[in-house]
Symmetry: C2
Subunit: 106 residues, 2 copies
Amino acid sequence: MSHSGWTPEEKEAAQKAVELAYQREVAALIATLQNRVEQAACPNDVWSLHDFLSAKRHEMDGKFDLRDSSLIFMFATLVKDGLLHVGELEGIEKEKLVKISALARF
Amino acid sequence: MSHSGWTPEEKEAAQKAVELAYQREVAALIATLQNRVEQAACPNDVWSLHDFLSAKRHEMDGKFDLRDSSLIFMFATLVKDGLLHVGELEGIEKEKLVKISALARF
């Protein structure tokens, strides 16, 4: 197994962690939407909400990138953004976790 | 004044009526958003809300067309959609109102 390779067990662990982070980000997004929609009163509030949601969708489409070559960077971003703790990446080898932790501090 | 022309007074009346219809449509949209966001629970709810808002914005951008040549059709659409009553188009000449009423029934 090369340093950049992911075993089937690691990929399964990665998949679970990604789903957890994705659910958390969606839950936070729903809370933000509920807050913004509750206070919406004028056309500009609606269209700026639409712009916000367009940007967020684009950002999330890019962030949750499950290609093997992107997993380290993706997890570093998720940890940095507070969507995952490194401790939740159980099942992924130590060397990768060290890289993820280091990148998350940038 | 040709049949297709709009006097400054008519344009002012048209502008006011359009603003009223626009505010009504936005108010209805905000109510719909509040209802949908309140019930949102999963990613699909959020992205389908975004799709809905994208379509609605596109539809409204096309519907509120203030060019002189489009006013009759625009008002007919607003009446047909229940966003205006013909009685709220005070200040616009009778002949135009007859056309608007007729088109709104299509």
